[in-house]
């Protein structure tokens, strides 16, 4: 018998044993005891197989990959639908878009981290709504002459990227958090 089907075989045997009791009010206590014994036995066997790294009790690899990806990607952000249907993008993608296509394209600016405030999402969407406010934390090069002007350039770039790529026009706040002097 392979390790993979050890658990299922055991559970079948115990379940069959549990079924042998005729359900009745008088036997409720006995059934409950038997059920608890079965669960305890199942836990013991699960622990044993888990300690042996048996695949029968391990999460599937693709499921674990999906959970990790979901954690990395963050919430799905609702976007204005195209003329053919709804769509959303992950916070991870939205952050990448703003960093690569907007902030880092402005000479003298370097993206640190962006955060979002969202409108309420529609009923159909399981995630957050359209971004209404984007806050960009950036680092400015020490040689930048005017920090207010740099902030405005970043703001304009983010708004243009959001409009062209997503069709949204959020308010953009820029916070210059650091200075850097490397290239």
């Amino acid at each position: 018998m392979s390790t993979d089907n050890q658990l299922s075989h055991s559970v079948r045997r115990l379940t069959a044993s549990a079924r042998s009791f005729t359900p009745s009010h008088e036997q409720d206590d006995a059934d409950t005891r038997e059920y608890l014994r079965m669960i305890a036995s199942l836990h013991e066997e699960w622990d044993r197989l888990e300690s042996q790294a048996s695949a029968s009790v391990m999460p599937q690899r693709h499921l674990m990959d999906a959970i990790l990806a979901e954690t990395r990607h963050g919430a799905q952000v609702e976007m204005p639908a195209t003329d053919l249907g709804p769509y959303s993008i992950s916070e991870f993608s939205l952050r990448a878009l703003i960093r690569r296509h907007a902030v880092d394209c402005v000479p003298g600016a370097r993206a640190l981290r962006s955060s979002f405030e969202y409108a309420p999402s529609s009923e159909d969407h399981r995630g957050v709504g359209v971004p209404e406010i984007i806050t960009c934390r950036i680092s400015a090069h020490v040689n930048v002459g005017s920090l207010p002007q740099l902030a405005q350039q970043v703001r304009d770039a983010v708004r243009a990227t959001c409009r062209e790529n997503l069709g949204v026009s959020p308010t953009v706040n820029v916070h210059i958090e650091d200075l850097h002097d490397d290239n």
């Binding site: 693709h62 003329d83 053919l84 769509y87 959303s88 993608s93």
Partner: protein, 122 residues
């Protein structure tokens, strides 16, 4: 509209759209695909990252894209590809139905609702 186009075939069509790097499943479609296998349903209708609901009235597709084109243009092309393909497959399945121009399915109320989830942008 009925269709015989499988989730597996849809996945191939979508990955051919310029700007799409690949099917990138989220946790929702992964669980649905596993659930479908456990219930021993048609494996062709269950793919990680592609959800085709019964009767093809609603499709959810999860993709990773690149930055070669505006996001909304890539998404629209994916939606158009799916709607067109499902409609053409539906036409093929129902020989008694008058053949329509493939473009007529776009904007048709019978057209499936295609939801695109962009998981990553590389």
């Amino acid at each position: 509209m009925t269709t015989s186009l499988s989730a597996a075939e849809l996945a191939h069509l979508v990955t051919a759209v310029p700007g799409v790097r690949g099917i990138e499943p989220g946790i929702g479609s992964t669980l649905r695909a596993i659930g479908s296998r456990i219930r021993q349903q048609d494996p062709q209708q269950a793919r990680f990252g592609v959800i085709v609901e019964e009767g093809s009235r609603r499709v959810v597709i999860e993709i990773g894209i690149d930055d070669s084109r505006p996001v909304k243009d890539i998404v629209r092309d994916v939606q158009e590809t799916i709607i067109r393909s499902l409609s053409q497959a539906g036409d093929s399945d129902d020989a008694s139905e008058a053949r329509e121009d493939s473009d007529s399915c776009i904007g048709d109320q019978r057209a499936p609702r295609v939801t695109v989830r962009v998981q990553s942008l590389l």
